[in-house]
Symmetry: C2
Subunit: 431 residues, 2 copies
């Protein structure tokens, strides 16, 4: 752990840096696999599933029977927990629905904006040590609410060619159209181009390792949109002398167990709480199953003391954390002042894991400082806004000359003509 006391503002740039990731070597590999899948479709997908997942599959698509079996394998309490989480996520995301925006900007000039679903979306759920069925809920529930017609889920099979039953249960519950046993680069490429068995999609969502991250970036070169650029997960806790060091330590560790590259930061206006948190971390870390992973992240962590809340807030806004826990008493100060964050957890009884699973907010959030310019996944991520305008003959007579003057000044005569020809017609018809 690195303790820093009252850092001067000219050191903040360095303190807000995330570990640099170089994707250039990977990009060549990714691009080559993309080209192969573009040309050879399912055959190439099968080849890479065999190489990367160590299994040869006859058929990538999960069958109804597999889904039914998965449901039988889960405990009732886990199924109930997943259902509770889904309901909360739906409640919060349904409330984000916006009404049609309609304005008569001038008499006879009616403008409106309507949102329409992105018809085909692809969701990627990583495999590996943690079966992220919670991410299935976070992506599929809003996609369904938004009205996306085709929702394709790709996730890698294990060595037996199976998918974790909780992932299948959550996917089925959310109304996923198709579940494909495809992982990594080959999954993103398959959804980008479409293959004989996987539909092409217009937007791809979901977390993943560095290969998936680069694959999503490469996908954007082929016309696919992505939810956001991804990086290692991160948490910043702000605390004062009233905060509970054991709670803070538990939150920092819940972030640290995600991966050795997780970012864990404590910002505090109390040197006492800083020291106590440090020793609490050591105590709690000792008994964690994922201790080895968490230890590495904690070794890189920063515990930063500031002598004023304003400086603390300024630093936090410069850092732009993915997850931001307000464990300080002065909650309103931080709530009102925060400008750059993915999701904010207010008060001592709001651990990050509440938002990770069940409070209702989305856990797919901007990392690596992207909270300065990106939203986390929300209902609008699955929609696009279309604008409309309808101008009456009277409306065009009111505004026509303004258009003609501006088009003329931009040297665009045909733009002007499109108005002039209509105004003349109205004049001839005595309207």
């Amino acid at each position: 752990m690195n303790t820093i006391l009252n850092p001067e503002q000219n050191t903040w740039n360095e303190l807000t840096q995330r570990p640099t990731q170089s994707f250039q070597d990977i990009e060549l590999t990714v691009s080559a696999i993309f080209k192969e899948i573009q040309q050879k479709g399912d055959k190439a997908v099968a080849k890479y599933t065999s190489i990367f997942d160590g299994i040869t599959l006859e058929n990538n698509q999960v069958t109804q029977q597999e889904i039914t079996e998965a449901e039988q394998q889960l405990s009732d309490e886990l199924k109930e927990a997943i259902q509770t989480a889904k309901k909360n996520i739906e409640r919060f995301h349904a409330a984000q629905k916006t009404a049609k925006v309609a304005v008569e900007t001038l008499p006879g000039i009616n403008c409106w904006q309507e949102k329409k679903p992105i018809s085909k979306v692809g969701l990627y759920i990583p495999g590996g040590s943690a079966p992220l069925f919670s991410t299935v809920l976070m992506l599929a529930a809003p996609a369904k609410l938004a009205g996306c017609q085709e929702i394709i889920l790709c996730t890698p099979p294990n060595k037996e060619g199976k998918i974790n039953p909780a992932i299948l249960f959550a996917a089925q519950l959310c109304g996923i159209t198709q579940i494909q046993k495809i992982g990594g680069i080959q999954a993103i490429a398959a959804m980008t181009f479409g293959t004989e068995s996987v539909p092409k999609v217009y937007k791809i969502f979901g977390p993943g390792n560095q290969f998936v991250t680069v694959a999503k970036q490469v996908a954007t070169q082929y016309g696919v949109a992505i939810d956001m650029p991804a990086g290692p997960s991160e948490l910043l806790v702000v605390a004062d002398e009233t905060s509970n060091p054991a709670f803070i330590a538990s939150d920092l560790l819940s972030q640290a167990e995600h991966g050795a590259d997780s970012q864990v930061i404590l910002v505090t206006t109390s040197q006492e709480v800083l020291k106590q948190t440090e020793s609490e971390i050591e105590k709690q870390l000792a008994v964690l199953p994922r201790k080895t992973i968490a230890e590495q992240a904690i070794a890189q962590s920063r515990l930063i003391y500031f002598d004023s809340e304003q400086k603390a807030l300024d630093f936090i806004n410069e850092y732009a954390p993915e997850h931001f826990i307000i464990a300080a008493q002065n909650e309103e100060f931080y709530i009102n002042g925060i400008q750059n964050a993915g999701s904010v957890f207010v008060g001592s009884y709001t651990p990050e894991s509440a938002g990770d699973y069940t409070s209702g907010t989305n856990h797919t959030l901007p990392t690596n400082g992207y909270a300065r310019n990106y939203s986390g996944v929300n209902l609008d991520s699955f929609l696009k806004a279309i604008t409309f305008q309808k101008i009456s003959p009277k409306g065009l007579q009111t505004i026509g000359n303004t258009i003609e003057i501006m088009a003329e000044a931009e040297g665009l005569q045909a733009h002007k003509n499109a108005v002039t020809i209509r105004l003349k017609t109205l004049e001839n018809e005595n309207i």
Copy 2:
């Protein structure tokens, strides 16, 4: 002009293709200039301004005196037109403001979403033959409404080191923070990294030629967001036997004059209107000042007849036009059915140029089929959504077990601990 009658659905994929653009040669040039500007700042900017714009500038920043002089050079009628357009754009974009979304997902679990401005944004306005002061309004007015603190505008100087006065007037009117005489790749790179005189921004907006397009893509590799991927502008008009061929021709030509690579498409259920439009285009084209440009676009244009409105609509949704004019009588059918379009113009008296300048809708729109997965620029483009949650002790007692079960099932023990430690504290305190 290419006339196609009742194309079979298996030919639609080809018919909806845009001209392929290969950016790979350009990308090397762009990346090299980015690296130089990252290292050498203003000195490198000056070098490329000298190479590409043929002028050596002492100072890139536009002075207050230049702005005052610009205002004096413009006619009153143009200034008034610009002000009218700005007011309409403001009215429509102000109406897009969303209220805070707040939901108690379960008793004691309060979730809310608030939007905050992206604090630093960069706007790019191309130089060249058409001085796009209208684009200044389209980008700067919503940026100001959204509350962006720093709004930087870059636009290339002419050979005398000047900026078109209408661009300066519009920029001043909208409250741009800083206007820089920098164009092309060097402008995008300067705003990506920041230089001694140009601030680094978090999101870059605006149109440009292929160099600017690639530069914006490269900028995203350095943590900057962009409005959307850009391509040549495009218009699709749908018409039936009641439509006015002269109006349609004027609209298609207003699109065609943008550039030789502009996409111009007529979809119609009337072969008669198709033929009449064809001859109207020839008639109107002959007298256009930008005839040479428009002619090339028109040569590539497609006039497509369908024998049913449903087929026409399906094709239009597959094409996903940037601009879509409904010149057919059955307006409601197309309004309700359109799923993929940037901006829609309804009825015979709503030419595209109305939306380009003054109706109030934005003219920065998704091209190249991106209307399937991207919105045009709107108020939200300058904001990001942050979610918040606050859980009461009672709320955590209600939901805590659900979180514990899910965290355990994902194998994330520290996530579970963050809840368990709090529940135990509450138990010990008899709450």
